[in-house]
Amino acid sequence: MIRHLLDDARARVQMADAVAKTDESLTLRLRDGEVTAAQTAEQAGHHLRLVVDGRIGVAGTTGTDAPALFEAALASAAAGEEAPLLLPGPSPLPMVQTHVPRAAAAGVVELTQLGRLLADRLRKGGRGITVHVERSVGSVRVGNTRGVDTEYQVTLVSLDIEVVSAAGDDSIRVVGHVAGADLPGEAAIDALVVDLEQRLTWAGRSAAAPAMTAPVLLLPEALRTFLAPVQQALVGKAFLLGTSPLADSLGEQVLHPSLSLTDDPLRDGLPGSRPVDDEGVPSFRQPLIEAGVIRKCIYDLETGALAGRPSTGHGRRSTFGKAQPGFSNLVLQAGDLDLDGLLVAMGDGLLVDAVAGGTGGSSRSGTFTHPVLLGYRVEGGEVTGRVEGVVIAGNVFEVLGSVGGIGRDARWVGSSLLPPLLLHGVSVAPR
């Protein structure tokens, strides 16, 4: 269908590009080791963008009617916005692993085994264990009227686990996650089990909340939510609109010198890995923050064109709507302290495992208020128990100026690789 659409486009419009994505997934839910739900999903979608008289038209379909899609995109262009869009030409693509045949071949039996393997390792009286295992296999094909026509295959296996454990009159919930292009190996499962057991042990006792200005150590899951305003502030569109607090800070050191953040689509076999973005721009590794200095924000073709900047290879397209800038794999550079070292450096404070999205967390101001869903008291460099009913609050951009230490053991959370991060200046308040 892509070839037909682009052939039509060459004859009728200024320029065009299209992306076709397919995905077939199998998802199982296991509760206490038994499969309690099973679902497959097959998806196929086409997204077409045309430029007519300088106006952009987009249309998408999950159907098979190519002429109707073309007409819809023309109608969209007649009503569409103007942008000086320039499409990329063909160029060699970097090598990156996005597809593993044995993952693609995994079916109900293999995924059930995987889920049980994990659940069995954690089974214990008083625990309820739910595991979601998903395997998806798909393809991405991108083409344009300048001759780009490229396709790559993708697999993704993800394992999500929730352990609910009785703790006195209360129950605690601890979650874990692993994902990649291949089936997770024994080492990944081991690491997940050790990590979950550690957190369940910490959560087993309760403790009093620390003082209001105690240092806060964020574990990777909590850190991902915490960093959302930073991510939003690094999207080119926020620069363009002037809504990013970092917009005037390119080249300046605004964060702690130990902080470096990279967007890395070229790491093998991870959820955000890809050789090319959805607009045909080859992928490359991109430092966003280096030693606390803001280096770059990300652009797709259209926001880049409006800002007078080239695309950074971050165009993301789904079947419907416009292309948007989107990150690939975000990597926060790890430090040199192990967790015990961080706890000792912390002395007394709050170790934060999971937070809720919170209110007021905005990329404009950076202010945040996150209720702590799971957090632990640290006293004398040791975890003494679970803390209930506190929120952490402050300003992301300010507290990222006072880093007390970075862990060496980073963990993948979704498509972000994050180490534990010790921060000063975060307020801890009763909820």
């Binding site: 206490d32 499969v35 679902q39 998806q43 098979t64 819809a72 916005e81 109900v108 709507g321 404009r364």
Partner: protein
């Protein structure tokens, strides 16, 4: 199409099977400040097949390509056999139904050119931009989605329906010196183009509110009498009683099961709360739910006491109750869950003025921009508010957050006014990864004798 689906389902080897197909036409337009963000169209086609076998669980297959339904049914059957639920799954009996439901075709958003929709939204967006020089940014969005749905099951039910949905939203950002405020208004309707015409006032309201919030002071924290406007009262009913009374939520969450056990007092004698997917023409209204059950008016709380639950066929059988027509899926990519439709607080008597007349110092909290809960603790963030002083509305206040345990909040209701109205926002409800599902809420003004307000520390 229905004949084709019925033919396919006859070949299924499963004890029970259903097929739901959808074809949606979507257009959307967005403006940001003075710039058109885009005007796009889409066609979304696909289906879901579910199979259930005795002693096993649900096997589900979703897809875009409509050919080879037999293979989809076989796959869902095979997946069903791989499932071993802890409790056996039985479906409450449902009579065979046949039906076609199509609204009047004169109002179809698909007949309006995209260019006209773009121009209309440009005009509405300009209402915000020119409202006041302190308006520095806007986001305006228009979206319509017309979905044709077909549903058949192995009991012989065959339904065909057209579901039109249209939404408008307005966000205004105002700035004065270093103070930045935003206000949101939206509208959603299960209808066509005429339902979103002449909405200039909606956009001006967003702009007016953003500007007025510039001068508003954050409310001071403390325990005060609070009057909730119908919008916020409706959201409180939806988020508390509504979700607690979803039978699948009760099966998963012991806190919900305990709080909303039939016969338990959950709120004041004055509160009667229900969910009605059958009331005419609202966003949560459907002729049939996504299992083919006609929705009903289900009382959940009567005079403060829990009297009902919302069901799918599966949860109805589990509880030995009747299906209520609340099995809904956001689209063909998902199997239905027990969902709310139009959730309401029944009308009382008296006016808004009656509610504030004897309040010496209190807060009038309006609209809801956020809510969250953990266990039985809830918080609701109002969009804006006013102080009530000596029985009259006084200065505007902002950052009004209402917090408390559900029984405290609902138990504190001491007046319910007689000014009931439905509110149909452009957003929707989220559950189990399915969002936004079109719903609406309705309520009169209600008063809480005292509630914990969290704004700025006193």
């Amino acid at each position: 199409m229905l004949e084709r689906l019925l033919d396919a389902i006859k070949g299924s080897r499963a004890d029970y099977a259903d097929i739901r197909l959808e074809r949606s036409f979507i257009t959307s337009v967005a403006w940001r400040g003075r710039r058109l963000e885009g005007a796009s169209t889409g066609t979304d086609v696909g289906g879901t097949v579910r199979c259930l076998n005795q002693g096993h669980g649900w096997g589900v297959a979703t897809f875009n390509r409509l050919d080879d339904l037999e293979a989809r049914l076989a796959r869902a059957h095979e997946l069903s056999l791989a499932v071993r639920p802890a409790e056996p799954i039985v479906l409450a009996p449902a009579p065979m139904r046949e039906g076609h439901a199509r609204p009047a075709p004169t109002d179809d958003a698909r007949d309006i050119p995209l260019l006209e929709k773009r121009r209309y939204l440009e005009h509405l967006n300009a209402e915000m931009l020119r409202f006041d020089r302190r308006i520095i940014d806007t986001q305006s969005a228009y979206r319509d989605e017309v979905t044709e749905c077909w549903f058949v099951n192995s009991d012989g039910t065959a339904l065909h329906e057209l579901r039109p949905d249209v939404t408008l939203s307005a966000l205004a950002v105002a700035r004065d010196g270093g103070v930045l405020e935003r206000a949101v208004e939206s509208l959603g309707a299960r209808g066509g183009w005429t339902r979103v015409r002449e909405q200039e006032e909606l956009f001006r309201t967003a702009a007016r509110r953003a500007v007025s919030l510039l001068d508003a002071k954050p409310v001071r924290s403390g325990s005060l009498p609070v009057v909730l406007d119908p919008r916020l009262a409706g959201v409180v009913a939806h988020e508390t009683v509504g979700h607690l009374c979803e039978a699948d939520t009760q099966l998963e969450d012991p806190v919900a099961a305990a709080l909303a056990a039939p016969g338990r007092r959950l709120g004041s004698e004055l509160l009667t709360i229900g969910d009605d997917g059958s009331v005419g023409g609202l966003r949560g209204t459907l002729p049939f739910d996504d299992e083919g059950t006609p929705p009903s008016n289900t009382l959940l709380v009567q005079h403060g006491v829990v009297v009902g639950r919302l069901h799918s066929r599966e949860t109805a059988a589990r509880f030995g109750e009747r299906p209520t027509g609340n099995a809904r899926a956001i689209n063909f990519r998902h199997a239905p869950l027990v969902r709310l439709t139009n959730t309401y607080i029944a009308n009382g008597s008296g006016t808004f003025a009656d509610l504030i007349r004897d309040v010496k110092l209190g807060v009038y909290a309006c609209d809801a921009v956020g809510s969250r809960h953990r266990g039985d603790g809830y918080s609701f963030t109002a969009g804006h508010g006013y102080m009530i002083r000596d029985g009259a509305l006084a200065e505007p206040v902002k950052s009004v957050v209402l917090v408390g345990f559900v029984t405290e909040l609902l138990g504190a209701v001491d007046r319910v006014a007689g000014d009931f109205r439905w509110h149909e926002s452009g957003g929707g409800c989220g559950k189990g990864g399915q969002s936004p599902l079109p719903v609406s809420e309705g309520a009169p003004h209600i008063r809480l004798r005292a509630a914990e307000i969290r704004g700025q520390a006193p």
